[in-house]
Symmetry: C2
Subunit: 746 residues, 2 copies
Amino acid sequence: MEFSALLTSAGINIGVCVLFLSLYSVLRKQPHNFGVYFGRRLAEEKFQRQDDYFSFERLLPTAGWIVKAYWCTEEEIRQVAGLDSVVFLRLFIFSIRIFSITSLVCIFGVLPVNYHGKEMTHQHIPAESLNVFTIANIVEESPKLWVHCVALYIITISACILLYNEYKYISRKRLAHITGGPPNPSHFTVLVRSIPRSENELLDDTIRNFFVNYHGSSYLSHQMIYRKGHFQKFVDRAERAYRRFVRVRLSVSERNGRSSLSRCGVCGVKASSFQLYRNKFIEAKKSDLTNPEVVEAQKNCPGALVFFKTRYAAVVASQVLQSSNPMLWVTDLSPEPRDVYWSNLWIPYRQIWLRKLATLAASVVFMFVFIIPVAFVQSMMQLEQLKKMFPNLRGLLNKSFFARVVTGYLPSVVLLLSLYTVPPLMMLFSSIEGSISRSGRKRSACLKILFFTVWNVFFVNVLSGSVLNQLNVFTRPKDMPSMLAELVPKQATFFITYVLTSGWASLCSEILQVYNLVYNFFSKFICCCKQNTEYVYSFPYHTEVPKVLLFNLLGFTFSIMAPLILPFLLVYFCLGYLVYRNQILNVYYPKYEMGGKLWPIMHNTIVFSLVLTQVIALGVFTIKHAPVATGFTILLLVGTVLFNEYCRHRFSRIFEAYSAQDVIELDRDDEQSGRMHEIHQHLLDAYSQTPPGEGSSRAGSQVPIELIMEDPAQEASESSQELCDTVQEVSDAINEHITEEKVHSV
Amino acid sequence: MEFSALLTSAGINIGVCVLFLSLYSVLRKQPHNFGVYFGRRLAEEKFQRQDDYFSFERLLPTAGWIVKAYWCTEEEIRQVAGLDSVVFLRLFIFSIRIFSITSLVCIFGVLPVNYHGKEMTHQHIPAESLNVFTIANIVEESPKLWVHCVALYIITISACILLYNEYKYISRKRLAHITGGPPNPSHFTVLVRSIPRSENELLDDTIRNFFVNYHGSSYLSHQMIYRKGHFQKFVDRAERAYRRFVRVRLSVSERNGRSSLSRCGVCGVKASSFQLYRNKFIEAKKSDLTNPEVVEAQKNCPGALVFFKTRYAAVVASQVLQSSNPMLWVTDLSPEPRDVYWSNLWIPYRQIWLRKLATLAASVVFMFVFIIPVAFVQSMMQLEQLKKMFPNLRGLLNKSFFARVVTGYLPSVVLLLSLYTVPPLMMLFSSIEGSISRSGRKRSACLKILFFTVWNVFFVNVLSGSVLNQLNVFTRPKDMPSMLAELVPKQATFFITYVLTSGWASLCSEILQVYNLVYNFFSKFICCCKQNTEYVYSFPYHTEVPKVLLFNLLGFTFSIMAPLILPFLLVYFCLGYLVYRNQILNVYYPKYEMGGKLWPIMHNTIVFSLVLTQVIALGVFTIKHAPVATGFTILLLVGTVLFNEYCRHRFSRIFEAYSAQDVIELDRDDEQSGRMHEIHQHLLDAYSQTPPGEGSSRAGSQVPIELIMEDPAQEASESSQELCDTVQEVSDAINEHITEEKVHSV
C-alpha cells in the first residue's frame, strides 16, 4: 500500500467520524432519543425532561457535550458510575500519556532513521510505499539500530513508571472504596456450598449446627438457597411480569397523568389480569413451608448464605478451610446482593471444576476455529487473489480508487463484523462456567475475549499472512521472535487501517448507539411501546476493555517497527477518552460493582505487550546482526519481567482479599457508632432470592437505602425483548396451568 | 544390542547385587560399623550395644535383616520414622502393585504380539536383537495394535484407581497425624515478617500493639528474631563448640566411665578451654539488653514469632491478609521448632520473590548446561563413534565382551556419576531461595531434582540420540508425539541397562552406605575420632523420591513400547521396598516432619508419566496408521487429565492447610482436659533461636518431652567435618578477639 492509499483511508474515516459526531450532537437533543442517550440519568430520575417544543437550535451540531465530558471530575464519575468506570478511564489516561511519549520519541527519532535507512532516491512522499517508513528499510548491521534500542528503553521505562503509579493509585482508590462506602451486606455474608447431607436432620439444622459449633461467637443467621421447581418458576415469572406492569403503570400515571390502563404494544394483554394470579400463588407458596415437598426441596438445596456478626468473622470464614474434606463446606465471600448470579448458585459445587475445564476447552477450540474467517480477511488483502476469486468484479477492481478501498478498508470491516459474534458466545461460556456473581462472569468473559482478540487479531493476522497452510509456524516457538520480526513490519499497513476502521469507527458507533437508536425508533413509532425509554444497560467492560488493550498492544509492538501507526492511535485514545466519559456519565448505569478488579487484567496485558515488543525487537536485532543491541534488549526483557513480579507481589492481593486491619477498623467504627445492630437487622432482607424487583419494593419501605443499594433501574434493565418473551411465556404457562387443572378436575 | 548382551548386563548386575547384599549382612554385624548401619537406633539409645567379642557367625552372610524389614508394620514405621517414611514406602507399594498388573498384561499380552509383529524367521532368542521385542516390530495398519490400546486402557485405569486409593489413604493418615499427635507448638505459632518500622517506638512494641489491637482476644506473646551480628556469631560458634564437647564428654563418661578429658582427633584443643569463653560471652550478651546497640539491632529485626492462645487463632492469623499493603505484616504458620531454618528467617521478606526467580532461572540454566555430559554418554553408545574417538582402544573394543560392557554398561555408569553433582547444587539453590523451613527446602530441592532428572535422563536421552545438533527438535512441540514414538522404542536398550545399573546398583550402594562406611573406617582407625558413631543422617528424600519416580516414568512409558524392561523394574521396586524399609528402621533419623507433603508431588509426577505414555502411544498409533486406536487414546488422555483435576480438588488442600473443624476440635480437647495452660507456658521456650543443642538441654528439664519433640540426636547430626571446621573457626576467632583486645588496650 502506498502512503496516498493510507491518506485516502484516513480521509474517509475522519469524514465518517466528523459526520457521526455531528449527527450525535443533533440526535441527543431530540427528546424522543433521551432514552437512548441519557439512560443513566433517566434511571436516576435526576434528569429534567424538557418539554417537547421545537427550536431550530435542535438541528445544529454543537460540541457542548465534549466540554461537559471533559470538565467532569474523577470523583463525580466515581460517585455516579462506580470505581470500575474510573479504572476504565484511567486506562485511557495511561494510554494517552504513554503514547504521547512514544509518539514524540518514535515520530521524531525513529521515523526519520527508518526513512533514510537505505541509500535510495526518495520519491514524492505521497507516492512512497509505506514500507519505507518501517524498520524493514534499515540495512543489516546498521549502526542506526541503536536509535531503536534507545527508543525501546525510553518506552519501556516510561511505561513501567506510569504503570506502577497507576497500580498504586488504583489500589488506593480500591481501599478507599472498601472502607469509605456505606455498610455493604456482602461484607457480612459468606456463601456456603456443598453442604453434606445427613439422614437424621434437616439441612437447615445441619447448617445451623455447624456454624454455631465452629463459629458460635460470630454466627448471626443463615438463609438457604432453593433450587426452583417448575411450579415456583411459573410463580416467579408471573410475578415478574405483574410487577413490571404495575411499575410501568405507576410511573406512567405519575408522570403523564394518563389512564392507568396500559397495553403492551405487541400482545395486548391487560396488565391487571396478573393481579389475581399473584395473590393466588403467593398464598400457595406460603402454605408449602409445612409441606413434605419443601423438606424434600431443602435436601436438594445447593447452598446457603450465612450471615456473620462482623466483617472480620465473614472474611475469616471465607478464607479458612472449613472441613478436612475440601469438597465439603466450601466457603466464599458472597457477592453484593445485586451482583449475585442466582441461577449459577443452584449448580452443585462438585460440577464446577468440570464446567471450568469444559468451557476452557471450548474457548480454545473456538479460538482456533475462528482462524478461518481471519484467513479469509487476509486473502482479501491480496488484490490478485481477489480477482481470481471474483472474476466478475475484475473491472471494478482495476479502478484505482476501488482497489484502495478494497485492500485498505474492507478487510478490517469484515474482520470487525465477524468479531461481533464473539462477545455473546464468550459470555455464554462464562455463564456455563458457574461463576457465582455477575461481575465474576463479566470478568471471566473479559479475559476470554481478551485472549481471543490478541490471538485472532494480532497473532493470526501477523503470522498467517494470507496462507492458512503456514499455520505450522505456531508449532516452532523458538523461531517465533525472528519470524515476528520479519512479519510484523509487513503487516503495519493492515493494522493502521484496522486502527482507523475498528478503532475510530467503533467509537462513532459507540457514541451513536446505532442499535439502540434504531430499536428505539422502531419501538416508539411502529410498535408504540412508549415505556422502553427506561431500559438502561450496564457498561460492557467485557467488550470494551479487550478492544482498548488490543490497541495498546498494537501501539507498543509497532512503535519502533512502523511508527506511522502512532498518531492514529493517539487520536483514538483521546477521542475514546471523551466518548467513554460521555457515555459513562449519560448512558450506562452501573448495576454492580467490581471494585476495580479489572485493573490487574489491564496491567498484566500491558506488561505482556511490552514483553512482546521486546521479543520482536530481539528478533529484529538478530536478523539485522546487531548483537550488542540484542544483549541490551535481553537485559530490558529481564527487567520488565522483574517489574511485573514486583507489582504482582506488591499489589495483586489487594484486589483479591480484604485485609484484617481494614475490616476490623470498619467493624469497630460501626460498633462504636451503634450502627451494628441496625445492620444486623437488615442483613436478612438484603439477599432476596426472588427476582430483584420484589426485593427492592419490599426493602424500600424497611431498609435504609444505602445499606441495600438496590437500584431502581435494575428491574428495568432487561431489554423489552425479554419483556415480550416473558409475557408470552406467562400466557403459555397460564394456558398449561388451566389445561392441567382441567385434567385434574376430570 | 542383542538379547545376549542384555543378559550379560543383567548377569553382572545380579552378581554385584548378591555380593553387596551378602557383604552388607556381614558388615552390619561388626560392632565398629554399628554407627553406620544403626544410626537411628543408636540415636534413640534403645539399641543395646553388644560386647565386642568375636564369633565365626559374624562372618557369615545371613538374610535375617530382610525378614525383619518385611515383618515390621506400617504403624511401627510411622512411630519411629514419621509419616514421610510411610508415604515414601507407600510409593513403593503403589509401584509394586501397578507394575505387577502392567507386567502381567504386557509380558503375556503385548510382548508376544510385538515378537510376532512382522512376518520373519526368528533366530534363536539369545541372538535376537532387542528391537524385535519392541513395538517397532509391528507393521503399519496392523490390527494387532488393538492389543496395545487395550493394554494402555488397563494400565491407566488400574493406575488411576490405585492412585486415588493411595491419595485417600495418605490424606487420612495425614489428618490422623495432625489431630493424633502430641500438642505441637508450631500449631500455635505464626511467623511474621516484614514488620513496618516506626520512628517513635521499638519494634517490640510495634508488634505487641499490632497483635493486641487486631487479635487481642487470642494473642499470647511474641518472640523476636534477631539478625546476628559478627560478635553474636562468634559467641554462638564458641558456644556450639563448647556444648558439643561437653556433651561428648558426658556421654563418654556415662557410657565408658573413661576420663572426662577428651581430645579432638585432628586438632587437639582441650574441650574445657571453651568454658571460660562461654561464661564471659553469655554475661556480655545479657548486659546488652539495655544497650542502645540492642535497640539498633531490634530495628534490623527481620521478623517475629507470634504465639496465639489457640490453634484456630494461629491458623486464621496465618491465612488472612493482615495489612492493606500485602508486603507488610506477612504471616505464615511457623514450621516446627526443629524444622525452622533460622538463617533464612534473617533474609528480608522483600528479597524473597527475587531470590525465587533467580534460583528458578539458575536451575533452568543448569538443566540445559547439563545436556553436554548426557550427550557424551549417548555418544558412547555408538561403538563406531567410540572407535573414532579413541583409536588406541580399537583392539579392545573389537572384542565382543568388552564391546558389550562398553555399550551396555558404561554409559549409564558415566551418567550416574555425573548425576551425583546435582543434589548438592539443587539443595544450595533451595537454600538461597529463602524457604523458612528445612522441610520446605528439601521439598523444593526434591522438585528441582525431579524436573532435572526427568528432563536430563529421560527426554534428553530419548530425543537427542547421539547428536547434540538435533536439539532443535525441542522447539517443535507439535511433532513431539510422533518423534517420541519413533525414538522411545529405539532407546529401550539404554533404559533397560539404566534400570540395572542406576536402579539396582544404587540400592546396593544405599544399603552398604559406602561413603559412610569408608569415612567411618578412616575416622575410627586413622583419625581416632571415637565419637563419630553418633552422627545420624535424615532420610535424603530429595534424592530418593525423584529416583523412584523416574523409574515409574520409565516403567509406564516403556510398558507397551518395550515390555522387556518391566521384570527388571519390578525386581527393583521389590528390592527397593525391603532395602528402604531396613534403612528407615535402622539408619536414618527423622529430624523433622513434612507431614506427608511429598505425596502430591509423587501423585502429580505419576499422572504426568501416564499422560506422557498416552502421548507417546498417540504418536505410535498415528505413525502406524491406526486412527480408531488414536481416537480411543485421546479419550483416555482426557479422562486422565480429568481424574487428576478431580484429585487436585478433592485432596490437595488437605496437604496445604489445616481445616477449621480439626483445629477447633483439638483446641476444645485441650481446653477441656486442662492442658491448654500448660501448653501456653511452654510455648515461649519451644522456639530457641540459639542453635538447637542449648534449647534442648534447657527444655529437657522444664518442658514435657512430647510438647517440644526436640530430638537428642539433632545436635549430633552435623558431620564431624563440620565439627573440625568449627573448632578451627573458633580458634581463629579467639585469635582475632585477642588481637582486637590488644589493639583496644593499646
